[in-house]
Amino acid sequence: MVDFHNRLTLAQLDADGALEEALVAATGSTRTQFLRSAALGSAALLTGLSDSATASPGPRQDTAILNYALAFEYLQAGFYTEAESLGTIRAMDAERERWARTLGAHERAHVRILKDVLGRRAAARPFFDYRGITEDPTTFTRTAVAMEDLTVALLGGQAPRVANQGLRSAFFSLLTVEARHATWARRIVGVAPVAEAFDSPKTIAQVDRVIRSTRFRVSRPKSEGRGSPRFTG
């Protein structure tokens, strides 16, 4: 039975170190280590974009925001795709499998949509290393909850910064889908499906701090052995 009074928010996940817990299990890195790495540099991890560097609304800022959203969708799409190719999703129960496959398909569609919108302005796909989290159904699902809630915070924060009015509507259309993903995931893991009356938008700097803490973003491809069960170690 779902416990509707158990409120699990992204902030709590962070505070409890759930993401980090999974990371420690996967990589052996400690909180101190990842905080130190988080303190390095101020440019946004995914694209080199920061809120202050793109302070004036207009087509250039729209492109920068779209590219940040694209990098984030790449991060998500890669996460589900890897779990699928490793067989992690196939091993889950029917509802979780349907959930994970649907989310993977949606995040890949979001990548295609944003790439189409950006055209030649689309930034290249970043490299990711999910550090073994996609191999374990439990850490995979918990991390997915945190990532979906984080995307809601990202898109909710960026929609008002988009100058193009049509794009604002498009951002809302994606934002609401990420919110559905998050609620579906929360119900599956047994926490409050809708914890708050209002979602709390985050700045790119805030989102980036979380991404940085995961160390999912790497500077070069992690391995050649596609399909091999071990990604870390």
């Binding site: 779902v2 509707f4 609304p57 729209d62 649907t102 989310l103 398909a105 949606h106 569609a109 979001h110 949509i113 189409d116 919108v117 950006l118 055209g119 809601v152 898109l155 909710g156 924060g157 929609a159 008002p160 193009n164 009015q165 049509g166 794009l167 604002r168 509507s169 498009a170 951002f171 809302f172 259309s173 994606l174 934002l175 609401t176 889908v177 990420e178 919110a179 559905r180 993903h181 998050a182 609620t183 579906w184 119900r187 409050a192 499906p193 809708v194 708050e196 009356a197 209002f198 979602d199 709390s200 938008p201």
Partner: protein, 201 residues
């Protein structure tokens, strides 16, 4: 001039003059090249839109308050009605605060039929939450930056409600990679079809 009736009759009609119905949906693929909404955003237009959204929240809030009578719902459905009802009430309060003196008063609504049993409640709740999310999406291009900032924390919560009720109903909580936008007229007719508001004639 678009007329929307969310108050259960002819007592009060909410006039949304100047809201551009056809311009609300932005094609995702052509979003960058799309011209701005035909009617440029302005504080006056924000007020009309926020009042439209306030009416929607009044309807949602009243629906869950009506459904809260003991015996109709139990289990997860009862929890849903309780939790979501509180959220909608807080949405009403926030929109009223934003609108200040310009806020519409709460309409009188007749929601007895749509909350009479579990099946009726479930179907009506799905329409309310799905249409709610789409109504917000549809107004995104018509709002000022301040307006979009104000409603962004609400639109995703409407979608969360929709996903939750769909999951309870055993349906796909996230049926598409991008959610549809609804025009004011679309919202009105969806609510009419669901028996949530009387036909406007």
């Amino acid at each position: 001039m678009i007329e929307i009736v969310l108050d259960g009759g002819s007592r009060r009609h909410v006039l949304l003059g100047g809201l551009v119905v056809g311009a609300a949906l932005a094609g995702l693929l052509t979003a960058l090249g799309r011209p701005a909404a035909a009617q440029a955003p302005s504080p006056e237009q924000d007020e009309r839109i926020l009042n439209f959204l306030l009416n929607l929240e009044y309807l949602q809030s009243a629906f869950y308050a009506e459904a809260d009578s003991p015996g109709t719902l139990d289990g997860e459905l009862a929890a849903f009605a309780r939790v979501v009802g509180k959220h909608e009430q807080r949405h009403v309060e926030r929109l009223k605060r934003l609108l200040g003196d310009g806020a519409n008063p709460a309409p009188e609504l007749d929601l007895e039929d749509v909350t009479s049993d579990e099946d009726a409640f479930l179907e009506a709740a799905i329409v309310l939450e799905e249409t709610g999310a789409s109504a917000y999406i549809g107004q995104a291009p018509n709002l000022t930056v301040e307006g979009v900032t104000a409603v962004a924390p609400l639109v995703s919560v409407e979608a969360r409600h929709a996903a939750w009720i769909l999951a309870i109903a055993g349906r796909n909580p996230a049926p598409a990679p991008a959610d549809p936008a609804a025009t004011v007229a679309g919202v009105q007719s969806a609510f009419e079809r669901a028996g949530l508001v009387p036909p406007s004639g």
